[in-house]
């Protein structure tokens, strides 16, 4: 077994997606890139579904510019995540859009493509993986972990073999809601390791249950090659384990890492300061809560649901709705409780409980899911659901979902004209004009270095309520007055 482990940094992507509603801007990242580069990470994940989307919708930043800017200033290989055939959304895109998107990620500097399908239907990875392989891009293909009677160790062994057959350079176990326990890891990880047959394995988990660090220890014991972590201020809670903690555990186990702890402390210090400067929350270690394993509904969704139920004056029926959600999940063939399937299950549960009758109203997307529009289901649909949904046999789909979607690039090209570059063409495929107009502002001027003293001076300089500021430190003396 290997006595070496590599770290994949998620601070610039999933960590702020979980803790800051994805609101970290490029401007906050650039000053610390040169230090991040010295920490000794194997890969740095900089792009993913929600990040791309929030860049456009809320930060009014061009996500392609972010990718290019970060990649230009990082020597460490950059990793970009897509949701397989759905890219940055939950819709399905045609194969030509998926392939063009992969080529543009590579052209803008991404070296490792990470891709997954929320149903673990690996036919939804074919177009992205083959596009990456064509241009010699590394591929990390993920399988999503969930708890159900059908998601057994051998289920994941089968998925592992499929991913390797597709041509993945690495495979990952992705545990988006932190459901893995050390007990399950002790059977699942050796099983997947055997099936991987030498292909490096990555682990991606979250800390909602508080157990993730222990699960990471199991991964190290079982020969996993790479672990997904974030720096301490942006770790824990809904985020991933802290790189500091996992590094310490690795050292205790006599496992070698490439991390430079002095550089890491500097980077961690910067993000700790950034939390303060930007008034954003730091991750807190979550206490173990067994309820997480019963309904599996993510915490963010429960708080949203509570709000909705209160507006219906049925806030007290939440436990009933969560129980119904468990039954619906079984009826629907055990979808993984992440977006968008989490919304399906929860919305259907509310409808069933509020209407006092199961499946009286079935949302259109749930019928489409049941018909196989998004891919193969993990288990058959229940008879009760089939009966109520009244899906005709000719409406069922069994082919690869991407096959049903006509090519899009030629049409977009003729609509937008030859002058439009591929990055803009893709943005036009994903978003309407109103959302894209604000992206046309001139690119911000980014700074690429900082230090605590520079941050102090910038901070004082931005306080408009001061008439005079005087700072003296280590031979430097600055006085500003108005």
């Amino acid at each position: 077994m290997e006595r070496k482990v590599g770290f994949i940094d998620l601070t610039l992507r999933d960590a702020h997606q979980c803790l800051w509603s994805t609101r970290m801007t490029t401007e906050m990242m650039t000053p610390i890139l040169s230090r991040i580069d010295k920490v000794g990470y194997s890969y740095i994940n900089i792009m993913g579904g929600a990040v791309f989307d929030v860049c456009v919708r809320y930060l009014h930043e061009n996500p392609w510019h972010r990718i290019k800017t970060l990649c230009q200033h990082l020597k460490t290989p950059a990793d970009g995540l897509i949701r397989g055939q759905s890219l940055y959304t939950f819709e399905l895109f045609p194969d030509d859009i998926v392939a063009l998107n992969v080529r543009r990620l590579a052209a803008n500097g991404i070296t490792m493509l990470t891709t997954y399908d929320a149903l673990n239907d690996n036919r939804n990875l074919i177009s992205s993986v083959s596009a990456a392989r064509e241009i010699g891009m590394m591929v990390n293909a993920m399988m999503v972990y969930t708890l159900s009677p059908v998601h057994t160790d051998s289920y994941y062994q089968e998925r592992t073999r499929e991913l390797i057959a597709l041509g993945a350079d690495h495979i990952s176990i992705k545990d988006p809601t932190g459901l893995l326990t050390p007990e399950r890891a002790r059977t699942l990880f050796p099983a997947v390791y055997r099936a991987a047959n030498g292909t490096p394995i990555q682990l991606h988990s979250h800390c909602q249950s508080g157990l993730a660090p222990e699960v990471y220890v199991e991964a190290m014991k079982n020969g996993f090659s790479f672990l997904h972590t974030a720096v301490l201020p942006l770790a824990n809670g809904a985020s991933m384990p802290a790189v500091e903690e996992i590094h310490r555990r690795a050292c205790e186990m006599g496992i070698e890492t490439a991390l430079d702890t002095n550089e890491l402390a500097e980077v961690s210090g910067y993000f700790n300061w950034l939390c303060h400067r930007e008034r954003k929350p730091k991750g807190k270690v979550a206490e173990y809560n067994p309820a997480l394993y019963e309904h599996q509904v993510p915490g963010g969704m429960i708080s949203n649901l509570k709000f909705q139920l209160q507006s219906l004056n049925i806030g007290h029926r939440l436990p009933e709705i969560l129980e119904e959600a468990s039954r619906i999940r079984k009826d629907l063939g055990y979808p993984i409780v992440v977006s968008p399937f989490a919304q399906y299950v929860v919305t259907q549960a509310v409808l069933n409980v509020v209407q006092g009758e199961r499946y009286k109203t079935i949302p259109d997307e749930i019928r489409k899911y049941a018909m196989g529009y998004y891919g193969k289901l993990a288990a058959p649909l229940s008879e009760e659901f089939m009966d109520r949904a009244d899906i005709k046999p000719e409406e069922m789909r069994s082919g690869r979902p991407g096959e049903y979607i006509p090519a899009w690039v030629p049409r977009l090209r003729s609509e937008l004209g030859a002058a439009v570059d591929d990055d803009d063409l893709l943005l036009a495929a994903f978003y309407n004009k109103e959302l894209l107009d604000p992206l046309k502002k001139p690119a911000a001027h980014y700074t690429y270095r900082t230090s605590p003293l520079i941050e102090l001076i910038r901070y004082i300089g931005k306080r408009s309520d001061l008439s005079r500021a005087h700072i003296k430190f280590a031979g430097i003396e600055i006085t500003v007055g108005s």
């Binding site: 609101r23 809904a238 507006s311 941050e455 102090l456 931005k462």
Partner: protein, 201 residues
């Protein structure tokens, strides 16, 4: 505090002191190697509560004003669809029907005084009412149109899921009471159908 290397930890400590002294006109700190001397422009206290939570750099409000606790818990879901949450917050509590897209006066169609024998199509859930399949396309149904039980009359969107609502009865659409894109409540009357009225076939 170290002598030569100001660390991020030092920086945080210093700024916490600066921020906790915002009610004073003058701030002086001498600690080891570092000296800071700040003077306020006017004796007025620094503005606190109106500071937007994410404004970069302009951190005048004292640390206890952090909105962070609120943001933390639902961060993941909010990251995906924050605008939805906003829409819902903005809308609270109209149980009455108010709009009449057909051009009749609002008073005529409050929920209590629909004519005898009509059928009310009610929203099966809280959500957003959409009158047409896609933005800019023609509506599913219009006033004075004859519908059958299977006719889709509108879409109600809940948590990004689209629910096609069928008429459930045959009849003539006499009122459409909600505007396209408006939030609707559970049980809110969306449309009125007269089973006997209009151009029966």
């Amino acid at each position: 505090m170290s002598d030569r290397n100001l660390s991020y930890e030092d920086l945080l400590q210093i700024l916490k002191l600066v921020e906790s002294s915002s009610q004073f006109a003058e701030f002086r700190l001498k600690l080891g190697d570092i000296e800071i001397d700040l003077r306020k422009a006017s004796p007025l206290p620094a503005p606190c509560s109106q500071e937007p939570p994410s404004s970069s750099g302009k951190a005048l409000s004292p640390p206890e004003m952090h909105p962070s606790a609120k943001e933390g818990s639902s961060a993941k879901a909010a990251g995906e669809h924050p605008q939805k949450a906003d829409q819902r917050t903005a809308h609270a509590g109209y149980g009455e029907t108010m709009f009449d897209a057909g051009g009749r006066s609002a008073g005529e169609v409050s929920s209590d005084n629909f004519p005898e024998g009509v059928i009310l199509i009610k929203s099966p859930m809280v959500g957003t009412f959409y009158h047409s399949p896609e933005p800019g396309t023609s509506p599913f149904v219009e006033v004075d149109q004859w519908v059958t039980p299977e006719t889709t009359v509108c879409i109600i969107e809940v948590m990004k899921l689209m629910n096609s609502i069928k008429a459930g009865h045959s009849g003539n659409v006499t009122h459409i009471l909600v505007n396209d894109g408006e939030p609707v409540e559970f049980g809110q009357v969306l449309m009125v159908i007269d089973p006997n009225g209009g151009k029966k076939e």
